[in-house]
């Protein structure tokens, strides 16, 4: 999940919300007789006989309706896919020039190295890492659970000055945008496990 999905979700919700609000608002305005000159009388029936007869007399109505519904369904499915895509990077290109063939590094090798290093620190219980975004400019999502009695400043420093620089060196990248979720768990959990 990335900021991209947030944008996609929020934009879609605004569009659907506006359509519902404006459509229902127009019906409400006519029902309440807000502007009879534009919308028509509020005491009229909802459908006129001509409107009821219209689909039967014009053969294009149902195919067009079907097409519009299909477009709505496709858009909704695309929106669904865009919101649920995690954009996980599975492999990283090591050789930018593809002339001499292609060398890729499985992303799991990188994230595994980071989590192994983090979990080797005595103050850290578990670590989880995922690379997201584009393979050329990936972002790192880290979830680290530290011992509750450990000093958070030490935990943070060891992540920022050891594990992350090691990963950048390995990937030969200057910076990797990183989101770190730092949780704490009770110290004796480890001994009970």
């Amino acid at each position: 999940m990335s900021r991209h999905t947030a944008h996609v979700s929020r934009t879609g919700l605004v569009i659907v919300g506006l359509i519902l609000l404006l459509g229902a608002g127009a019906v409400l305005a006519r029902g309440l007789g807000a502007s009879t000159s534009v919308l028509g009388s509020s005491h009229a029936a909802m459908l006129t006989p001509a409107q009821v007869q219209y689909p039967a007399k014009h053969s294009w109505v149902w195919p067009v309706t079907a097409a519009v519904c299909a477009v709505i369904a496709l858009l909704a499915l695309w929106w669904l896919a865009a919101q649920t895509s995690t954009k996980t990077v599975r492999s990283l290109p090591l050789e930018p020039e593809r002339v001499h063939g292609r060398t890729v590094l499985p992303a799991a090798a990188v994230t595994g190295a980071v989590t192994d290093e983090l979990e080797s620190y005595p103050t850290i219980r578990t670590a989880d890492a995922v690379l997201r975004g584009s393979a050329l400019r990936p972002g790192l999502n880290l979830a680290v659970t530290a011992e509750n009695r450990a000093d958070p400043a030490t935990v943070r420093t060891s992540i920022e000055t050891e594990a992350l620089p090691h990963m950048r060196e390995a990937l030969e990248m200057e910076t990797i945008p990183t989101v770190l979720r730092l949780s704490f768990s009770r110290a004796f959990d480890r001994h009970l496990a």
Binding site: A6, V14, V27, V52, W62, L80, D151, E160, S183
Partner: protein
């Protein structure tokens, strides 16, 4: 806030004086970049309402397309009887009917809600804490922060149970003690919790409020 006497004994409420390193942190707090960035990262994504609305739309679109296609072919898959829909809509159902107004109000309200959900930024799911590296955004999940601070408070001798809620601007510690004389205990809880918060170094000034209650065992 003042001291109040509850049913189970005195409740100590001490005013929060702020974090110890208030002045040292003023510089960090005045930098908008890191905070804006953290807010952007940890703000709710609204994926759940988005996915629900998208799924409803997709199902409605597919059903509508199938039905309209079958109607176009001359054999509607399911018939909507004239007497149930088109008949009354021509004769008995008027724009000003209560049902029409009620349904359109409900739909307009749903639309309004969706816009609100999309536009309101929402409370960050994690409490952003300072990071030395500008490319690293760090947050402590709000619930976990509360639990973590609660465990620390429970480690203090004399504190029986402590529940901590992390709000936007303050954390509220509700602790119970079996001690009859709990002099200084609330201050001690305050020191421990504020000390841990200072070590975490949140991006927003966060006050600590302590409510200590005596619980007779």
């Amino acid at each position: 806030m003042s001291d109040t006497a509850g049913e189970h004994g005195p409740t100590l409420v001490i005013p929060a004086p702020g974090l110890p390193s208030l002045h040292a942190q003023a510089d960090v707090w005045s930098q908008p970049g890191a905070r804006r960035n953290a807010r952007r990262v940890f703000r709710p994504r609204r994926t759940i309402p988005g996915v629900i609305v998208a799924a409803v739309l997709a199902v409605a679109g597919i059903l509508g397309a199938i039905w309209a296609a079958s109607a176009a072919a001359g054999h509607p898959l399911w018939n909507v009887p004239y007497s149930d829909f088109a008949g009354p809509m021509q004769t008995t159902v008027h724009w000003s009917d209560t049902n029409v107004i009620a349904i359109s109000s409900a739909v307009a309200f749903v639309g309004f809600l969706l816009i609100l959900i999309a536009v309101l930024p929402g409370r960050t799911r994690a409490v952003p804490v300072a990071s030395r590296d500008t490319s690293v955004v760090i947050g402590v999940p709000r619930r976990n922060l509360g639990r973590s601070l609660g465990w620390l408070a429970e480690d203090i001798p004399g504190v029986d149970k402590a529940k901590v809620r992390a709000k936007r601007r303050f954390v509220m510690v509700r602790a119970t003690t079996p001690l009859r004389d709990a002099t200084g205990l609330a201050e001690q809880v305050h020191t421990v919790v504020a000390g841990r918060l200072a070590a975490l170094d949140p991006l927003w000034p966060t006050q600590v409020k302590v409510k200590l209650r005596r619980k007779e065992g």
